[in-house]
């Protein structure tokens, strides 16, 4: 992939981060750092991987993207709006009274939102269902699920992992946003998550571990996952919670905190948006 192309995508990711910061600042919603953590994954997927756009959002043969870590919905909304799934005006009213976009995705709340998430541990089982449906109906769409590392605490994740491997769901890919934090502590202290890649491998998945902010590496890994025969793929994406703004990076207070006006400005400066 040409460097200019990646530079362009990085610029889009910075814009998306700026948007998410504005949405959170305006609405007072939580989980800003969670959204920033997974934004590069979403940009790689929506700009380069998914056979999915506004015109095919309801098409039975579309690729599916499920944001299982629903608390990062602001990132999904910003990306979908930028890709033209719905009006950018909707972002302005994010999480306000009567708005179409709630803090966490409601069923059918907007074109492109596949699933109501927000209770962790649901996206992978449902994604496996979509992937199995493709097998049954002889379709060749891909299913991409983005999960958080704390989410890997949930038993349903591993139930789905065993199921997907047994059914050889090669059209299913999970990206784990491995930012090393969950709500109340380090994800390797609250539970023993590591070795995370080896866990997925032991469950019968093809695995790859990459820098989750390297958009070229994300595109490459997601591309390869499509070619994988006989196995689902788990991409362990090493990320930094709050990525993109120095005073938010790896500071879990931003799991809940809402930036003040001065912080919004400082953040946008750092992102090269001012």
């Amino acid at each position: 992939m040409a460097d200019t192309d990646i530079a362009q995508l990085n610029k889009i990711a910075a814009q998306m981060r700026g948007k998410v910061i504005e949405m959170v600042a305006a609405s007072g919603a939580a989980h800003l750092a969670s959204a920033m953590s997974c934004l590069d994954i979403l940009v790689a997927a929506y700009w380069r991987i998914l056979k999915l756009d506004a015109s095919t959002a309801a098409h039975p043969l579309r690729d599916r993207f499920i944001l299982s870590k629903g608390h990062a919905a602001s990132a999904l909304y910003a990306v979908l709006a930028e890709r033209g799934f719905f009006s950018k005006d909707w972002l302005e009213s994010f999480a306000t009274h009567g708005a179409p976009l709630a803090e966490q995705p409601a069923p059918g709340c907007a074109p492109g939102v596949e699933l109501a998430t927000g209770s962790l541990g649901h996206g992978l089982p449902v994604g496996a269902g979509h992937a199995l449906a493709a097998q049954i109906q002889k379709h060749d769409y891909q299913v991409l699920v983005c999960m958080s590392d704390g989410e890997c605490n949930e038993g349903t994740v591993w139930e789905a992992a065993m199921f997907a491997a047994a059914r050889k769901l090669q059209n299913l890919t999970v990206v784990v946003d491995y930012n090393k934090w969950q709500a109340t502590g380090r994800s390797n202290e609250v539970m023993q998550l590591s070795p995370l890649r080896e866990k997925w491998a032991a469950f019968g998945w093809k695995t790859v571990e990459i820098d989750g902010h390297d958009i070229a590496a994300l595109i490459d890994a997601l591309d390869r996952s499509k070619q994988e025969a006989g196995k689902p793929t788990a991409i362990i994406a090493n990320t930094v919670k709050g990525r993109g703004v120095s005073f938010m990076e790896d500071d879990n207070n931003w799991h809940y905190r809402v930036p003040k006006a001065a912080e919004v400005e400082a953040a946008k400066k750092e992102l090269g948006l001012l």
Partner: protein
């Protein structure tokens, strides 16, 4: 309310060495004091609620008194079978506490609402089900949890709920407390919606309808003495809850009333309807949406009496 929960747990841990607190990756810093004082009596079980309930069952079978705490839908809906089999079937003294219940987290969407869980849980044999209105009621019920020899479920609010009692009331499971005396209508209220009941009574008084308000913090076992009394004394008895009118306080009282056809009072169930809330909004706005406001409630009762 959650601060009172943390504080009361600390004092229970000091009083009773069997007390162990489990949480599921929420309540950042909330339990720091307890952790510092009793490092082996607090466990963050991660985003793995079902496992947390199972672990609590094992602790209880070994003589400890576990309390489990996280956001209501995750500690109830997600753990239904663990609660039923591990806790209720074995009748183990574990207290399950759901925070942010009802529509406290309205803004987070349907995954975070819990307007059905009391109805689901009260069907489980041997489970005591409570919904304190404020911090003092919560403290009283937490203390009484240690007197139970079986499982307990408590649904609580989040933070900043108005305090309705000056001090911790002498309250046990299965009891209710009259907070305002009246003679025409009576509101039985469970949980944090109680201030709305008080305000509705005030409004009704202005329209010449004398309304009694009873805080009714235990859904199961029902305070049948109170029910007997209010259904014999009032023209209208209203149940009020931030929960579906199916299965919760309204549902329980309707079942009880069906067994007492000799009592004449008219029952009206105030709560949420049998639907998911799809409106993006905060708790206050959600209550307005469902008419769970002083005006809304007063209007419903006025219509039945005047």
């Amino acid at each position: 309310m959650r601060n009172a929960f943390a504080d009361e747990m600390l004092s229970l841990a000091r009083q009773d060495p069997r007390v162990v607190l489990l949480s599921a990756d929420i309540g950042n810093r909330l339990f720091d004091k307890l952790k510092a004082e009793f490092p082996d009596r607090f466990y963050n079980c991660g985003v793995a609620e079902a496992n947390m309930i199972g672990v609590a069952a094992g602790l209880a079978q070994s003589g400890l008194r576990p309390f489990c705490y996280t956001i209501t839908p995750f500690i109830t809906y997600r753990c239904m079978e663990q609660i039923r089999v591990d806790l209720c079937y074995h009748h183990l003294p574990v207290t399950v506490v759901g925070t942010g219940s009802g529509l406290s987290y309205a803004s987070l969407g349907g995954t975070h609402h819990s307007c059905e869980e009391m109805g689901m849980l009260r069907l489980l044999p041997g489970l005591t089900v409570g919904g304190p209105a404020d911090a003092p009621e919560l403290r009283a019920l937490l203390r009484d949890s240690l007197n139970q020899n079986g499982p307990v479920y408590l649904r609580i609010g989040k933070k900043g709920e108005p305090q309705m009692h000056r001090d911790v009331p002498a309250l046990k499971f299965g009891q209710s407390i009259m907070l305002r005396e009246g003679s025409d209508a009576c509101i039985l209220s469970i949980g944090t919606v109680l201030p709305v009941a008080m305000a509705a009574a005030e409004k009704l008084a202005a329209s010449g309808i004398s309304t009694q308000v009873v805080t009714f913090p235990t859904l199961k076992p029902l305070d049948e003495k109170c029910l007997q009394m209010v259904f014999s004394s009032f023209k209208v008895v209203a149940t009020l809850e931030e929960h579906s009118i199916l299965g919760g306080l309204g549902g329980s009282v309707a079942e009880w009333k069906a067994d007492h056809p000799e009592l004449n009072a008219r029952l009206v169930r105030l709560g949420t309807p049998d639907e998911f809330l799809h409106l993006t909004c905060e708790q206050e706005e959600a209550r307005e949406h469902y008419g769970l406001t002083a005006e809304g409630i007063a209007g419903r009762i006025y219509g039945l009496i005047a």
